[in-house]
């Protein structure tokens, strides 16, 4: 559940978010749209706990151990292999049956064959798929995705469509995208930032 009231974020003199009010109920799927610079990424970072509001209130449930986040950066160590990266996060999030969970996600995202390759040697689309695996690794209750389709080819986008459809109603989803029509049938609401 996310509840924002009068949410405001400034970076120096620049006001990125101004008096934002919205609520996302548990199990809801809110898509955030808006032009470049409208504050989509800032809003998602606030909800993930990576930034603090300048004014207003923001309540987010659950705590950070149950939040999955995939932003613009894949948050992967380039010198580690796919498996090592996911193992690292799996250990930090204390994922039960970690190896099986990682193997299953890699299969689902079509990355099993690349598991021993270093992240630096993979294509942008593959890296984005691993970033999505990372965000889903601990079966988060709240999943926050910033432009999740960026860099994905048709196969990758289809996998993500399927994943999003599969987790609908089991998880709370907050997704920022330039292409809201793609996931429109899945969403329960739209927040348009100007």
């Amino acid at each position: 559940m996310i509840r924002a009231a009068g949410l405001e974020k400034r970076y120096g003199l620049k006001r990125v978010l101004r008096g934002l009010d919205f609520e996302l109920q548990r199990g809801g799927f809110l898509v955030v749209t808006g032009p470049n610079g409208s504050g989509k990424t800032t809003l998602l970072r606030l909800c993930a706990g990576l930034a603090l509001p300048t004014a207003g209130t923001l309540e987010v449930e659950p705590d950070r151990s149950r939040i999955g986040f995939a932003g613009h950066e894949p948050l992967l160590y380039r010198e580690l292999t796919v498996l090592e990266n996911l193992e690292l996060y799996g250990r930090l999030y204390r994922v039960p049956e970690r190896r099986e969970r990682i193997g299953m996600l890699l299969e689902r995202f079509g990355l099993w064959e690349s598991r021993r390759e270093r992240a630096s040697t993979l294509s942008r689309g593959q890296v984005q798929r691993i970033a999505l695996c990372r965000s889903l690794l601990h079966k988060p209750d709240l999943l926050i995705l910033d432009e999740p389709f960026a860099g994905l080819d048709d196969d990758g986008a289809a996998i993500l469509d399927r994943e999003l459809a599969g987790m609908r109603e089991r998880r709370t989803l907050l997704v920022a995208t330039h292409d809201p029509d793609r996931i429109a049938p899945l969403t329960s609401g739209r927040l348009a930032l100007a």
Binding site: G49, L50, L76, R91
Partner: protein, 213 residues
């Protein structure tokens, strides 16, 4: 507590593995400390005092440490990875402790080479110098990793780290040189231990505020 040290071990192992793969930091530190000691060997007039010789050793140690600290958060900074660590449900001070352990390993390896080179170029080192170096390393890593994280978040990070670190390293130089040349080095070693305790506690407690906005 087991969980805390488990997270620290996972993060420290990751940093050591990254260094084994990339070899960015340790070779540079080794080359730097050898080069600096070689330069000092030729720059210092023959017959110089022990105080001058050990003073230069500690200058070399501090600048070598600075080189390693500058790379402590390089992967996180260059690849925007700090968010991933901050998001993880581990105590954020475990990130500081893990980085400190990894930096300590690199610094200790560089200093083994440095002390051998110092003995060859200048004069053999005694137990008090070695004890001083060990204690100084703890303080350097405790303070340095915190400042490195602060600098990584800033714009002029290459300038910021030395500007923040060198004034705070002054007590380490005073304690280290004192322990190396004094007849009774005990009080200098105690001074270094006190510095370690105070700054480790401060850095441990404040790290969370440095890595979160």
């Amino acid at each position: 507590m087991t969980r805390y040290f488990g997270d620290t071990a996972v993060l420290a192992r990751k940093d050591l593995r990254l260094e084994l793969r990339a070899r960015d930091t340790l070779p540079a530190m080794l080359l730097f400390v050898l080069s600096v000691l070689a330069v000092f060997h030729f720059a210092l007039p023959s017959g110089s005092s022990r105080l001058a010789e050990f003073g230069l050793l500690w200058v070399a140690i501090i600048f070598t440490a600075l080189l390693g600290l500058g790379r402590a958060f390089a992967a996180e900074r260059e690849q925007g990875l700090l968010d991933g660590l901050v998001l993880a449900p581990c105590d954020r001070s475990a990130i500081w402790l893990a980085k400190g352990i990894a930096t300590l390993v690199f610094l200790a390896l560089a200093e083994i080479v440095a002390l051998v080179a110092f003995a060859l170029f200048f004069t053999p080192v005694g137990w008090a110098t070695v004890a001083g170096v060990v204690l100084a390393d703890l303080g350097i890593c405790a303070v340095g990793v915190l400042l490195s994280a602060m600098a990584a978040a800033g714009r002029a990070r290459e300038l910021l780290l030395p500007l923040l670190f060198l004034p705070l390293a002054l007590p380490i130089v005073i304690g280290g040189v004192g322990a190396s040349v004094a007849d009774h080095p005990g009080r200098y070693l105690a001074f270094l231990a006190l510095y370690d305790a105070i700054f480790a506690l401060l850095a441990w407690a404040s790290f969370e505020y440095v890595v979160t906005e």
